[in-house]
Structures are given as structure tokens and as C-alpha cells.
Amino acid sequence: MNSDKQSSEDFSLEALRAGDKNEFARLVEAYSGVIYRLAIKMLENPQDAEDVLQETFIKAYRNLPGFDGRSSLSTWLYRIATNEALMLIRRRKHITVSIDEPLETDEQEQIPLQVTDWCCLPEEELMSTEAREYMDRAIDDLPYTLRVVFLLRDIEGLSTREAADVLELSEAAVKTRLSRARLRLRELLSEYYRERLQSQNAAKGEKPQ
């Protein structure tokens, strides 16, 4: 999240543009962790994530001489990485996915159906290994266009403006997609935790809610 971020101002753009290996190594060290984490969550596959990680920094090095500094370095790196991931997904699925395409059916409004209050479950239940695996699968179930917005905003800690800049979308589009992603995840998690709550209540000999 925010504490993971290093300011782009910590780097000498002049040195980076000139191809200074030392400065580039510092950049790789600072950002490879967040780029890899994003790629893993976007692609669900360590090999693909590694490819995206490598391609991101290869392209960054190649294009740094022309980097105009209008975006921050981190935004620029995230943009390269998300584009690389998108290309991999297209290649793998043989379908056309575009981040700026209009909202599709599966991106439509998520009407909350689950209204069980599971907030009272103990943290060890909420964060059990099984729960975490379920949470990962819920992210994988999101359409790509929602997943990437959720990851940039809520996991990587980018602001709406920064996420809009990375994805070259309007801030309104980022907000809408974030809202849909969060509501969809809430719905999926609610299905899971409702069952946990029911089995907990059953174990106590109480009626399920």
C-alpha cells in the first residue's frame, strides 16, 4: 500500500534518460516488488507474472530516453505493466480485451443480494488459509477491467487520479469500476462468510441467521 511506494522524485531522471545502469538498478530494486505483485494478481500465474515483470523493465529501459516526465515514474511503470499483462491475456485467451472498452454485461451494476452481517466473525476465521484462498478466487472471478482497477486502487494504494493516469481512463470511469469491483467482491465474500457463520452457529446449537 502507500508505505510501499517510493517517490519518483527519489530518482534522477537525467541519469535514467542517459542510460545510467546504477540509477536504473535502483529503479528496478524499488519497483520490481510492486510490479510483480500486481502481475501475479492480474494473471494468476507465476510464469506469466515473471514475463510481465521482465518485459516491463526491458521496455522501461528502452523508452526512458524519451520519458517526458508528465506522469510519475511509478505511474509510467504501472502503465507499461498493465499493458503487458493485457497483451498476455489477449494472447492466452485469443479474445479482444481492451481497458477502455465500454462497460460490458459482466461489468454491470452489482445489486447486493447478500445482507448477512458477517463482520462479527473472529479475525482468525476471516483470515484463515481457506478464506484467503477464497478471496484470491474472488479476485480471479472479476472481469479484467474491474480487477485491474481494484488492484491498483485498493492493493497498490494508488489514488483515483493515479489509477486513471495508469489506465488512461477518466476518473469517473475508475470510480465506477472500483465501485463495481468492490461490491462484487463483497457479494462473493458474503456468500462464503455466511456459510462460515451458519456452521459456527450450528456448532453452538443456534439457529442459522
Binding site: S32, G33, P46, P112, C119, M127, M135
Partner: protein
């Protein structure tokens, strides 16, 4: 969540939990939450969902073997030890 007001306010919930909802809508939503238990639960579980994803996020690290291959691919092998 079938009521007209609940549907109307649904798109505001994400901004509300971020604290970025504009004042007018915020007042309207909070007024609604006082009388609508379902919406209160949706807001609470929405907050909890985001919180759970954030606290369980993996740290931003690259496994050693992946890092090694990255540095070699970038011709930065000399910098591998500066971790």
C-alpha cells in the same frame, strides 16, 4: 436491497467508505442508513471486504530466483548483491 432509495444510493457507497462522497449525497445516505438495516450491513461488510484484502495483501517482494533472472535479463547481474 430492492427499494428504490437503496438502488439509488448504491453507486455512492464506494465513495462513502473512501470518505470522498460529496456533502449532499453523504447527508442523504447517512439519513437513509439510520432507517435501513440492509444498507448498513452492506456498508459495514463493504468496508470489511476492502480491509481484509488490504491486510492480507502479500508484501511487494520478488522471489530470489525471479529476481535473479530479472537482473540477468536486464544485464544488471553486477547489482544482484545490493539487496
Amino acid at each position: 436491497m430492492n427499494r428504490e432509495t437503496c438502488r439509488h444510493l448504491l453507486d455512492s457507497l464506494s465513495d462513502y467508505v473512501d470518505g470522498t462522497l460529496d456533502d449532499t449525497l453523504c447527508v442523504e445516505l447517512e439519513h437513509h442508513l439510520e432507517s435501513c438495516e440492509n444498507c448498513r450491513i452492506v456498508v459495514d461488510t463493504l468496508r470489511r471486504t476492502i480491509y481484509l484484502y488490504q491486510v492480507t495483501a502479500q508484501p511487494p517482494t520478488v522471489p530470489d530466483d525471479v529476481r535473479q533472472r530479472l537482473y540477468q535479463r536486464l544485464d544488471l547481474g553486477d547489482y544482484l548483491e545490493h539487496k
